[in-house]
C-alpha cells in the first residue's frame, strides 16, 4: 500500500510537505502542491485513516447502538428510514457511521465502553428510548458526545431529538373528536417505551380537554407485532359497549387491526374509525387507507446526526431538546361523520 513517504520520495519532498499538501496548508507553494497532487492521483494514494486518527484523536466516525435484534424497531420501516437520515447527514459531513448491536441487555455497556474507551468513534447516537438507560449514565460520566433519539426522563441535560408525542397523540385524538366521536379507544405500544407513555398522555389530555371521560378498559397496550393488533381488535369488538374510534400506536399494529375488523365483518371507518402513527408508505395503500401521524422519521435521524456532529466537534449545543414537527395525514380510515348521540 502506497504511503505518504512513497509520495514524498517520488516528488522529491519530505513527508511533512505531502501532509501539508493534503490538508491545504497555506504555506505550501502553488507549484509544489500541484506536483504532489498529481503524483498522489497517479499513485492512487489515500491517507491511512488509522494513522491519521491516532495522532488527530478523531475518527470521523459516528457510532450507532442498535436496539436488540429482538426489539421492535427492526420490525418495520422505522429503522431503515431513520438510518437513512442519519447516514445521509453524516456522509455529507465527511463522517462514516458505525453500527454495533448486542444480543443481551448486559452487553450494551460493554459494547459502548469498547467504542468510547477504544476511541473508535467521535460520538454516539442512542436509539432506544427506554425510561431508564444505564448507557446514558455511562456516557455522561465519561463526558462523551452523544445524542438521544427519543427522550429520557431519568437524566438531565441530555440532548435529545424527539417528536412532541404528547401533542401528536392529542392531535390524532382531537381529529377523531372533531369527526364527532366521543367513544375513543387507544391501542398503545410497549409501556416501557417513553414514546408509548407520551402518546397515552396525549390521548388522555385530548379527552380531558373535550370533557370526555376516559374509559380505562378502552386503553390497552400490545407489543409491536401486527398480529397483536389483530388479536386486540376482537377483544374490543366483543365488548358490550365499545368505542367508535381507535387511536393506534403504530401503522403495523393498525394493519393488524384493520385486517381483524374486516375478518369480523366490520368496516372502516363506518363501524370504527382509525388513526395511527408513523405514516409508513404502505399506510396509503391499505384496503382502507389509514390516517396516520407523520413523525418525520428521516428528519429525526438527519437532525440527530447533525447535532451529534456539532457536539463531536466541540461546538456548543443550542438546546436541551429538539422537537421534530409532526403532521397528521388524514385518510379514509377516519373520515366519517357519525350522528352525534
Amino acid at each position: 500500500m502506497v504511503t505518504i513517504k512513497d509520495i514524498a520520495k517520488i516528488a522529491g519532498v519530505s513527508p511533512s510537505t505531502v501532509s501539508r499538501v493534503v490538508s491545504n496548508h497555506p504555506r505550501i507553494s502553488h507549484e509544489t502542491s500541484r506536483k504532489v497532487k498529481a503524483i498522489m492521483e497517479q499513485e492512487g494514494y489515500h491517507p491511512n485513516i488509522m494513522a491519521k486518527s491516532l495522532v488527530s484523536k478523531t475518527t470521523q466516525t459516528l457510532g450507532i447502538l442498535l436496539p436488540r435484534p429482538a426489539e421492535e424497531l427492526f420490525q418495520n420501516d422505522f429503522f431503515g428510514e431513520l438510518l437513512r437520515g442519519i447516514v445521509t447527514q453524516a456522509t455529507s459531513a465527511g463522517y462514516d457511521t458505525l453500527i454495533t448491536t448486542v444480543t443481551k441487555d448486559t452487553d450494551e455497556l460493554m459494547a459502548i465502553s469498547r467504542l468510547v474507551r477504544g476511541q473508535r468513534v467521535d460520538g454516539i447516537l442512542l436509539l432506544s428510548s427506554r425510561t431508564s438507560d444505564p448507557v446514558i449514565g455511562f456516557l455522561q460520566e465519561n463526558e462523551f458526545p452523544f445524542v438521544l433519539i427519543g427522550r429520557s426522563d431519568d437524566y438531565q441535560d441530555v440532548l435529545s431529538i424527539d417528536n412532541n408525542n404528547v401533542q401528536a397523540a392529542q392531535d390524532a385524538t382531537n381529529h377523531l373528536i372533531s369527526q364527532g366521536h366521543t367513544r375513543i379507544g387507544f391501542i398503545n405500544g410497549p409501556t416501557n417505551l417513553v414514546v408509548s407513555q407520551d402518546r397515552l398522555a396525549g390521548y388522555h389530555k385530548a379527552l380531558c380537554e373535550a370533557n370526555i371521560v376516559a374509559r380505562p378498559e378502552w386503553a390497552i397496550a400490545v407489543d409491536m407485532m401486527q398480529q397483536s393488533g389483530f388479536r386486540a381488535i376482537s377483544g374490543y369488538m366483543s365488548m358490550p359497549d365499545r368505542p367508535s374510534a381507535l387511536v393506534v400506536f403504530d401503522d403495523a399494529i393498525a394493519f393488524g387491526v384493520l385486517r381483524g375488523l374486516t375478518e369480523l365483518g366490520y368496516s372502516v371507518p363506518e363501524d370504527i374509525s382509525l388513526v395511527s402513527f408513523n405514516n409508513i408508505p404502505l399506510s396509503g395503500v391499505a384496503s382502507t387507507p389509514i390516517s396516520s401521524v407523520d413523525i418525520g422519521i428521516y428528519h429525526l435521524g438527519y437532525t440527530a446526526s447533525q447535532f451529534l456532529l456539532r457536539s463531536a466537534q466541540g461546538k456548543p449545543l443550542p438546546e436541551d431538546q429538539i422537537i421534530i414537527p409532526h403532521r397528521l395525514i388524514v385518510r379514509k380510515s377516519s373520515i366519517n361523520q357519525i350522528s352525534s348521540e
Copy 2:
C-alpha cells in the same frame, strides 16, 4: 484516556507485558496476568483501536456501501432485515459494521476507494445488484475482500450470495398454474436489476414448460413504489383480454395492486390471483393476505457477512455462489380453483 503505558507503570511491568496479557500470550506468568488484568479492570482500560489497527493492518470492521438514498432498497423492509442479518453475524465475530452512502453514482468509486485505500475496513459488502458495476471491477483489481449480495453477470470469480431467483419466480408461476391458471401476467421491478431479469426469466420458463404461450403485453415493468402497482393494475383491467393471475415483483407493489383492484371493484383472488416476493410481515395482514415467496432476507445478510469475514481473514472461500433457499408462502390471494377453460 488511560493507555497501555499507564497500566504498565502502575503494575510495575513494561508495556510489552501488558500487551501480551491482553492478547493472552502463552509465556506470561499466571500471576502477572492476574495482576495486570485487575489493574486494567480497575482503571477502565481499553486498547486504542486505531493504534492497534495501525500495527496489525486489520480493522475488525466490515464496510457496507448503501444503495443511493433514492434507490428502492430503502423503501421497504428489505434493507432493515438484511442489515440485521449482517450486523448480527459481524458482531458475534467481534467485527463492527461501517456504513457509507453516496448521493451520486460517480461518488461510489470515490467512497469505496477511500475505504479500501485508507484501510478503513477489512472487507466490503456490496448490496447493489446492477448488471454492470464499476465498483466490482475496482475491488477485484485491488484484490480486496468483498462479497456481493445479489449477482453480477459481468464479472467472473465474484463470491455472491443470492437467491435462485429464476427458480423462485418459476415456483411462484407454477403455483398459479397448479391453481388452474393459464392466463398469467407479470409485473416486474426495475429492469436494470439482475434480480428483475432473473424473475422474469423464471416466469417465462414456467410458462414455457407448461406449454403456455407468453403474452408480451402481460409482462410489464414498474419502479418499486407501491403507487406504481396501483397505476399498473388499471392498465391490466382495461385490456379486453386480461390475465386471471399476476406474479408481482415485490410485496410493496403488490399492496398497490391489491388496493387498485379493490378500488376498481374487483376482488382477490376471485377476479384475479396474486403472488409476490419478499414476504414482508405486512403481507400476512393485507386485506387479502398476499401469497409471497419468502427469500430469507435475514439469512442472506447473515451468510454474506459470514463469508466476507472468512475472506477477510484470508481463509479460502468454498464456492463462487451461495444460494439461499426460498419458500413460497401461500395465502388467500392465490388460493382459488377457477374453472378450467
